[in-house]
Subunit: 384 residues, 2 copies
């Protein structure tokens, strides 16, 4: 039940008319406590949406009583009026739940440069407050969808009884795309603010941040982790980090699986790197190469495009000592052709690219999708 | 007549069976002198094709008697055998023309990881030598085509009588694409090696290097400028640089116009930058943004995607003091919506994006194409 799987949380998802389709477009998650701590990571894009500007301030004291999320508009580049809309949304939630507006985070997703309808939003907040329930996590996960074809949820329970669950939204190419990624994760474990923050940052660094990431984050990306402490259980630190990361990883792979118009999920695994940074740089260079991604769409094991992408990086490697495997077939070894291309079967959705730089002991995985006709179609027609 | 417009050059283009289609696939350009100086710029990709490795060595002494170019195979990642093929090609040209193989540059374009057929190549060299003529520039420009739909040529003549002309090949996305760009420019002006080199580097920096460039050059890119001195005229230095740049610019725009599957030519002009580097970085970030490029394909003036791309750069700017115009319509001013989207007409092939960072006096132009169905089709089916 996503964000209501952990104890101490209520949630709801309602339709308030922001989406022309009439579908659910506003989600609310309330933390009943006894503690109301949160951590969040925000987009590094320097052009930041109004809800990002607001939420960064609101979370400074780490106290968060609720988070409200709308689809149907990004509220980015909407000037002073747009910021007032975000502020008024937080105020409406605060008044309705009898908490400080400064303890309410706001997230928005949709088109940049359009004002949100404040009357619809505040009416939506009222509806959402009335609809709050301890099984509202499913409705909330549906209300944050934009071009997503399915809602994304994940849950884990520790043997000692505490729980962690979450929901995510995002169906674009994630990067180089600018499709907004919104994620809310809740837990009822008793953890302090430092562990909460560390667990979130470590988890996102190896999951959401490695979804085809080239630094091109959206103006609105936000991943928030909230704890209620309602389980009464103080978890083992490493187990806490592990389960938070598992939820992030499951949600990230669900985002990948639902990427706009994709026909392949591509896992690029770089090994033999002299540093983690090298491994990530090489993986990203391949993940954002349009010609490589178009080749995979055409079921063409075009390893030359992989090596050409690797060659644009500053990573440590000898161009004549790189090995490349596609779906388990060693297709290029030490800078020369190895197995015949015809041995590689690219018809399954899952594609594994293994690149060995033979320069050290570090490795990383970057995940991405292929570049398809459907991607072009969805992103050329996209305007909501 | 492209490379034979300047005096002192012979050229030819022949079919030797490297292309399955039977089309011309080998070009030869000979410099008859009296001088045989050349300058060249090469791909910065660290994975370099065998002809690049060869040509870099051959041009060290700046003496170049001939350049031979083949389509039908990149001769990259083909190991020791591939390098021997390049070497043997230069030797064949050297023997046939009675010049040193070390004064022969070699260029190749086509698929990575496949061996070229040396017997066909050496037979092609013989044919090309027999076909050399002082109006062979057109045939040569046709022989270097791969997925190009038209041959690209350019000529300029100074009032003092010296000439410069050239040919180019390249119809991919150029970058982020890895489609190889091969360019040969010839002149009969009497210029020393320093001016020749400076003129070429200054011209390419503002033309070919700003074609949607994100550093992702191909493994085989090479731009060569050769002079025969046959006009007997010593040009004014600034006029020489100007005409070389004009030829480069015309060829670059012809590459843009023929980019695989594109339906729009997009000129991104960044002004008000605090440095040239900032202007170029901002232009490139927009030029390589897939969501922006897909929006232009759909005739959607989605300025939010432009600002979001700008926001990922390290350039100096205030996010609330950027102006964006599309085809002359100021659509976003100071971080807020300005003119209505419906006023922008994106039906013409030419699209002008003007971004004013309002942070200084530097400016740059980056040119790119839209991301279309046809691009995906050509690059997923591409295997020749």
């Amino acid at each position: 039940m996503s964000v209501t799987f952990a104890k101490g949380f209520l949630a709801s998802g309602v339709a308030c008319g922001l989406k022309a389709s009439g579908n659910k477009d506003l989600a609310l998650v309330q933390n009943l406590g006894p503690v109301q701590l949160a951590a969040a990571v925000f987009t590094t894009n320097r052009c930041q949406a109004n809800p990002i500007i607001w939420s960064k301030e609101a979370i400074r004291d780490r106290q968060v009583a609720a988070i409200v999320l709308n689809s149907g508009g990004a509220n980015c580049y909407t000037g002073a009026q747009g910021f007032q809309t975000t502020h008024a949304t937080a105020e409406a939630v605060g008044q309705g739940l009898e908490v400080s507006a400064g303890d309410v985070l706001v997230c928005s997703t949709g088109l940049i440069g359009e004002q949100l309808d404040l009357a619809k939003l505040t009416n939506g907040v009222s509806l959402a407050i009335q609809s709050l329930s301890n099984d509202g996590g499913i409705a909330a996960s549906e209300a944050i969808m934009t071009t997503d074809s399915v809602a994304k949820r994940s849950e884990r329970e520790a043997s000692s009884g505490w729980r962690v669950g979450g929901m995510a939204k995002g169906a674009g190419m994630l990067a180089p795309g600018l499709a907004t990624m919104l994620v809310v994760i809740t837990t009822d474990a008793i953890v302090g603010p430092e562990l909460l923050d560390a667990a979130l940052r470590e988890a996102t660094a190896e999951t959401f941040d490695r979804l085809d990431s080239d630094g091109c984050m959206s103006t609105n990306d936000q991943v928030t982790l909230m704890t209620s402490g309602a389980s009464g259980v103080e978890p083992d630190e490493s187990e806490f980090k592990k389960l938070v990361k598992e939820v992030c990883d499951e949600l990230a792979l669900k985002l990948l699986d639902d990427a706009e118009g994709a026909s392949h999920n591509i896992h690029i695994r770089v090994a033999g790197a002299s540093s983690l940074a090298d491994a990530v740089e090489v993986g990203r260079s391949v993940a954002r190469n349009n010609l490589f991604k178009a080749a995979i769409y055409g079921n063409d094991p075009n390893w030359g495009r992989i090596l050409a992408a690797v060659g644009t990086t500053n990573a440590e490697f000898d161009p004549y000592n790189i090995d490349v495997s596609i779906n388990g077939v060693l297709i290029s070894a030490k800078g020369e052709p190895a197995a015949d291309r015809s041995l590689v079967d690219l018809t399954p959705r899952q594609v594994d690219i293994d690149i060995n730089l033979n320069s050290g002991g570090h490795h990383a995985r970057i995940v991405t999708n292929d570049l398809t006709h459907e991607y072009v179609e969805e992103n050329s027609a996209y305007s909501s």
